[in-house]
């Protein structure tokens, strides 16, 4: 794996270091949004923003149609653009584990990390929150760092009813994620960006995971939703 490493920050395949990854088996996802809910509960994620979310696309031809779900979250890239774009080092990568995390007390809110993330995984917290005083700084999925370091799996993984989300150390050849990635065809999002994402998808169709011409001429009803969302949630 060492030949893949282009930056000193990358830890995949480095001996003695853990490199956590998630495999999302889309054949098993039923779009119940339990992962979103568990994440919201775990972190008191405010309304309108998400650490993990489950967009869908309706595919097929009526009457044979189905919803294609694609759970999304921070990809905890091995070479994360958000880390290098943060001017004050508020975003950092944990060497042992590969978690990409945030120093909330250091973040100045310039949103350079949001601009640099190819996955839209980052968001601005609102100015006031009910249960926590971490406000108006950039936030994101942590791969449940606080749980994983206690030997627990991330909240979204534990709650997934179809076991569509599998989590583990990809540097450990005996881990389930390692076996899945090495034995099944998997796909990461936007591999061409060079970020080396560590969320692997089984069964993703790139025609569905990439922006399509449909966004240039979206359905009116979706645009209405979008306008309403933007009106109520200013970045």
């Amino acid at each position: 794996m060492s030949e893949l490493r282009t930056s000193s920050i990358e830890t995949r395949g480095k001996p003695g270091l853990k490199r956590y990854a998630m495999v999302i088996d889309l054949r098993r996802c039923i779009g119940c949004d339990a992962c979103m809910t568990a994440c919201k509960a775990e972190f008191d994620v405010p309304l309108g923003v998400f650490r993990t979310w489950v967009p869908y696309k309706v595919v097929g031809v009526y009457p044979t149609v189905r919803k294609h779900f694609m759970p999304r979250l921070c990809n905890h890239c091995d070479d994360p653009p958000c880390v290098r774009s943060c001017p004050v080092g508020a975003t950092y990568k944990v060497e042992d584990g590969g978690f990409v995390l945030q120093h909330y007390d250091r973040c100045i809110g310039c949103k350079a990390c949001m601009a640099s993330c190819p996955y839209n995984a980052r968001f601005m917290l609102p100015k006031s929150r009910t249960y926590t005083d971490i406000t108006h700084v950039v936030d994101k999925c942590t791969f449940c760092h606080h749980r994983v370091t206690q030997g627990l799996a991330p909240a979204c993984v534990v709650t997934c009813i179809g076991r569509a989300r599998i989590f583990g150390d990809i540097n450990d050849p005996s881990s389930e994620v390692s076996k899945l990635v090495s034995t099944l065809p998997t796909q990461v999002l936007r591999p061409e960006e060079g970020t080396k994402p560590h969320v692997f998808y089984i069964g993703v169709d790139r025609n569905l995971s990439e922006p399509s011409r449909a966004i240039y001429n979206p359905l009116d009803v979706l645009e209405e939703d979008r306008r309403a969302f933007n009106k109520n949630h200013k970045g």
Binding site: P81, R84, P87, V88, A90, G109, A115, Y216, D225
Partner: protein, 285 residues
């Protein structure tokens, strides 16, 4: 995804485009003030261009700070143990601060009538002023996932746009000095030409790019953004001033003033549409 139930924002709002605009003008005006020490025809601009440059630098700095979600934490940018030098923003912050410091020293030396030190500071300040549009271009270029932004053209385009807008503002400060106006007309013509060539090149590479680029091209050439980018930015703000400045009327002060107004309106439109254009498609992903 084509269908969606979660929406995303553009991280960088139009405040940034106003910042790009004012800081570009500020750096070009400082450059013209520096030229006054070496070219006689620029002498009438020495003080006036510097004052406007300084004022715009302050406005630009305040815009940057106000746009932060934690404005008081801009002080973190001054903490050497926090600074991350892989980020163009860190370099930009230092560039802006040192430009401010050199500008203040330049003002002080001019007041003391210390010609030697004023010249030295003018040259130093101009190098730092050049860094401002360069770093703003890099700010966009480094985002590899952003169509339009992720091109090596961006820093050079911002330098050309800075000279163009700066020359337009300087032409208002030039009064009736014919030689100076003739020089500024040349600056406007050449920098507008350079901006035009780069914009056509940018459109070409965007149109022939991948999925994201192609969609961005469609957004930037049609609808409201198309009107702003192509209509106001390229045609009204770049092509029309070139035509006007080349015409006999464009050699007169009145013609230059009209061209300068068009350039300023177009300069703002271009910066806005480039900033927004690079973010639209991503909001659907």
């Amino acid at each position: 995804m084509g269908d969606f139930n979660i929406f995303h924002h553009m991280p960088w709002s139009s405040t940034y485009s106003i910042y790009f605009f004012v800081i570009g003008i500020s750096s070009a005006l400082f450059f013209f003030s520096m030229l006054s020490w070496f070219r006689q025809e620029f002498e009438p601009l020495r003080k006036s261009a510097f004052y406007v440059s300084f004022a715009l630098m302050v406005v630009g700095g305040l815009l940057l700070i106000v746009d932060l979600s934690q404005p008081l934490r801009f002080l973190n940018m001054l903490n050497p143990s926090y600074l991350n030098f892989t980020s163009p923003l860190a370099w930009g912050g230092m560039n802006l601060l040192s430009f401010g410091a050199v500008s203040a020293a330049y003002y002080w030396m001019m007041r003391k009538n210390d010609e030697t030190d004023s010249r030295r500071l003018a040259v130093l300040g101009s190098i730092l002023a050049l860094g401002l549009p360069v770093y703003t271009g890099f700010d966009l270029t480094v985002h590899q996932n952003r169509p339009v932004w992720n091109t090596p053209l961006m820093p050079i385009l911002f330098v050309a746009m800075s000279l163009l807008s700066g020359a337009a503002v300087a032409s208002f400060l030039a009064g009736t000095h014919e030689k100076l106006l003739a020089m500024l007309r040349r600056f406007m013509l050449w920098s507008a030409g350079a901006v035009g060539v780069m914009l056509v090149s940018l459109l070409g590479t965007t149109a022939y790019g991948g999925v994201g680029q192609e969609l961005t091209f469609m957004f930037m050439t049609t609808g409201t953004l198309g009107t702003i980018f192509i209509g106001v930015g390229m045609l009204l703000g770049t092509a029309a001033p070139i035509a006007l400045l080349l015409a006999p009327f464009g050699k007169q002060q009145q013609g230059m003033m009209i061209a300068a107004v068009l350039i300023l309106v177009g300069g703002m439109a271009l910066r806005y549409s480039i900033l927004v254009g690079g973010q639209i498609v991503q909001t659907y992903f």
